[in-house]
């Protein structure tokens, strides 16, 4: 099962490699990993999408907690939460099939951020499924380049990590 794990950790050199190293060392799977500083400059927040059964997940959470720089770990999947991913994608302006790009942009609520003679650059954000659906709407030949951030997430309402 897919899990979104939020990790708060000290914003120190080497902390990222400790987390990614842990996943390879113990054979845990990473679908995506995203990290940036929080409102506290000394802390970073990392969102990891992984998959595995309950025992694997329990180990992932425990092993993450064991890292000295990790302050908090929380499995967002088990709580009411919001998750988002951002994608920048370059689509060929000369579309192979009869896709109406403008219509798609409207339906998916995304933005065209750059236009050149041959290429539209589009910004899409939302759940991973929505981003996949947007890509699926095109013939693969029309998709020139993709850059995705991976998932970030936060719990809803009063509950904090």
């Amino acid at each position: 099962m897919r899990h979104i794990i939020s990790v708060i950790l000290e914003n120190e050199a080497g902390a990222l490699s400790r987390v990614s190293g842990l996943f390879t060392q113990r054979g845990f799977n990473i679908e995506s990993l995203t990290v940036a500083q929080t409102n506290d400059v000394n802390l970073s927040r990392m969102t990891i999408v992984s998959s595995g059964n309950d025992r694997v997940l329990e180990q992932i959470v425990k092993q993450l907690n064991k890292l000295i720089e990790v302050v908090k770990v929380s499995d967002l999947t088990s709580q009411d939460h919001v998750e988002r991913e951002l994608m920048l994608v370059k689509i060929s302006s000369v579309l192979k099939d009869n896709v109406d790009l403008k219509e798609l942009v409207e339906i998916f609520g995304c933005k065209v951020v750059d236009v050149t003679e041959k290429i539209y650059t589009i910004e899409v954000s939302g759940k991973t499924k929505k981003i996949n659906a947007f890509l699926d709407a095109f013939d693969p030949a029309n998709i020139i380049e993709v850059s995705r951030t991976g998932v970030t997430g936060i719990s809803r309402g009063k509950k904090l990590i």
Binding site: L9, G14, K66, I68, V71
Partner: protein, 577 residues
């Protein structure tokens, strides 16, 4: 007063109560050595190879409970130490390793003797630091010792670039305490879990204690003895736990696992309540997990939450220090009515009659088991015994009945050949008044021989018991059983004359070829209080370690010496290690 980084570092080590540092100098640590030379509170032990420094500090830590301290240079200095660091990590030994690094501006430039020390050691340390500014030296040392010695202990590496050791600053007060929001090891267990565990313990019909290294490292031997005796429960100990509960006690069933006793393994198999105390259900203990303790409920006491339900799902997990948890259980069980387990004991006593450690002597050859039994007799069971890895390690664990914690020092987790000799040296430095024996084999001893030189320089008299059977015995045993006796590379040819070798290092060498010479040689060796004695004992090359649970087997599938034929071509054997 202004001090340079090296002087600050040495000052901090003194404040941590460090008395001995095991190390080897080199370019990146010259300032540190200069500062070390200018004082006499800390003794530096100059090893002959950095792996020896790490094992030496490790043996020192295991013998007296203090963190071992290692000082090595950059590049090959730290890479040589890695095996020793990984060894300490697997067995949760408190250790602080200081490694020099090339000057900060050269980091990343492929400088001479540059290696990414924090990167290389990351997966085999509890934590590591790269110091980036002289102002971080004191706080980093404080954190390093705190992390290494609290919670589940382990090695911590401090990588310190050379320019920082010569930069100067006003020395601030060394911090008395340390507070880290991201590191707060659990110490006190939940009362609710203690009550639930006490309930299960009191109501079990066929209970067994299975205790491990956590009782030795956690200094919980006293509480373990008190609780076990109070309940009258059978207790089996892991390779790492031996001695926390006395091996000669009537409640002790000896070691369990792959080469454990028949009674210990059968009791585990039939038990309805296994209480794991500071042990981690290692694969050498459990054998085939699917067939492990089929009727038991598990109480698992460990300071490291990640060990709980890792291999075996715990019915009652208790996270806390073994010492504190055992005391809480003693209190909780104070007035509890216990189930009568006399029937369980009669069953166990039946298993004991199998006498699974019995072996047959052959005329004309010395049996390795006899050597250990005689070592026990000559040292009256009081020596600190270190070992290397292989058959000799198992025989030492099986036949030397350790009655005290920290008396048995071996590389259980990583299984590092070469560990025994430097660890014995470290143990002797930590406990100079104790007899120290290193049980080894002709394979293992050759991996760290050079430390014989260090042992002469620092007068650390150790008795080396070399069980020389001319084979990498454990490899040969597996090849005999599982590879149709194809002995690939397990024969040790072209061995040195160990007697002359010992003598050339300034020690005493004695060769023992007949059983009748064995006891006099051991007596003579231990009489030489201030000399290292190398006993090269020629033992039966065909002897195997029994009992043995073949890989993939359950605790009830043990093979016994002289009673079972070890022939197996089961696929699981080939996949197991």
């Amino acid at each position: 007063m202004k001090l340079n980084g090296a002087q600050i570092l040495i000052h901090c080590l003194k404040r941590e109560g460090v008395k001995h540092v095991f190390g080897y100098p080199g370019g990146a640590v010259l300032h540190i050595y200069d500062a070390l030379e200018a004082q006499d509170e800390i003794t530096h032990v100059l090893v002959r190879h950095e792996q020896g420094a790490a094992h030496g500090a490790d043996g020192y830590a295991r013998a007296n409970g203090m963190p071992g301290v290692v000082l090595v240079t950059s590049g090959p200095g730290i890479t040589n130490a890695v095996t020793g660091i990984a060894t300490a990590h697997m067995d949760s030994i408190p250790m602080v390793v200081i490694s020099g690094q090339v000057p900060s501006p050269l980091i990343g430039m492929d400088a001479f003797q540059e290696v990414d020390a924090t990167g290389i050691t990351r997966s085999c340390v509890k934590h590591n630091f790269l110091i980036r500014d002289i102002s971080e030296v004191a706080s980093t040392v404080k954190k390093a010792f705190y992390i290494a010695t609290t919670g589940r202990p382990g090695p911590v590496v401090i990588d310190i670039p050379k320019d920082i050791t010569i930069a100067e600053m006003e020395m601030e007060e060394y911090p008395e305490t340390v507070e880290m929001r991201s590191y707060k090891p659990t110490t006190k267990a939940s009362n609710r879990q203690i009550r639930k565990a006490a309930e299960l313990i009191a109501n079990s019909q066929r209970p067994i204690f299975y205790s491990g290294g956590g009782c030795v490292i956690g200094n919980a031997s006293k509480e373990l003895r008190e609780l076990t005796r109070k309940l009258g429960f059978p207790i089996t100990q892991t390779l790492m736990g031996l001695g926390a509960y006395p091996g000669t006690d009537k409640l002790s069933l000896g070691m369990l696992g792959m080469h454990g006793t028949y009674e210990a393994n059968m009791a585990m198999y039939e038990s309805d309540c296994v209480v794991a105390i500071g042990s981690r259900f290692d694969d050498r203990i459990t054998g085939n997990l699917e067939k492990f303790c089929p009727t038991a409920k598990f109480i698992h006491i460990d300071i490291d939450p990640s060990q709980i339900s890792k291999n075996v799902v715990a019915d009652i997990p208790i996270v806390g220090q073994t010492k504190q948890v055992l005391q809480a259980l003693i209190d909780e069980l104070e007035d509890k009515k216990l189930t009568d387990i006399s029937k369980w004991w009669s069953q166990i006593n039946e298993w004991r009659k199998v006498d699974s450690l019995a072996y047959t002597k052959k005329s004309g050859v010395i049996k390795p088991q006899t050597v250990i039994e005689m070592l026990y007799e000559v040292t009256k069971g009081k020596a600190i015994v270190t070992s290397d890895v292989g058959q000799h390690q198992m025989w030492a664990a099986q036949y030397y009945l350790f009655d005290e914690p920290r008396q048995w020092i071996n590389s259980g987790g990583l299984g590092t050949m070469g560990f025994g000799l430097p660890a014995a040296m470290g143990a002797k430095i930590a406990m100079p008044d104790r007899d120290v024996a290193c049980v080894t084999g002709e394979g293992s001893i050759q991996m760290m021989l050079q430390e014989l030189s260090t042992m002469l320089q620092y007068s650390t008299p150790v008795k080396i018991i070399n069980l020389n059977n001319g084979y990498l015995g454990m490899v040969r045993q597996w090849q005999e059983f599982f590879y149709e006796k194809r002995y690939a590379m397990s024969y040790m040819d072209a061995l040195p004359d160990f007697v002359k070798l010992a003598e050339s290092y300034g020690h005493i060498g004695i060769k023992v070829e007949k059983e009748s010479d064995l006891k006099p040689a051991l007596v003579e060796a231990f009489k030489q209080k201030d000399r290292t004695v190398f006993l090269d004992i020629l033992t039966d090359p065909s002897e195997n370690v029994f009992p043995m649970i073949p890989a993939g087997g359950a605790h009830c599938d043990m093979l016994l010496a002289g009673r079972d034929q070890m022939v197996s071509k089961d696929e699981t054997d080939f996949n197991a290690v």
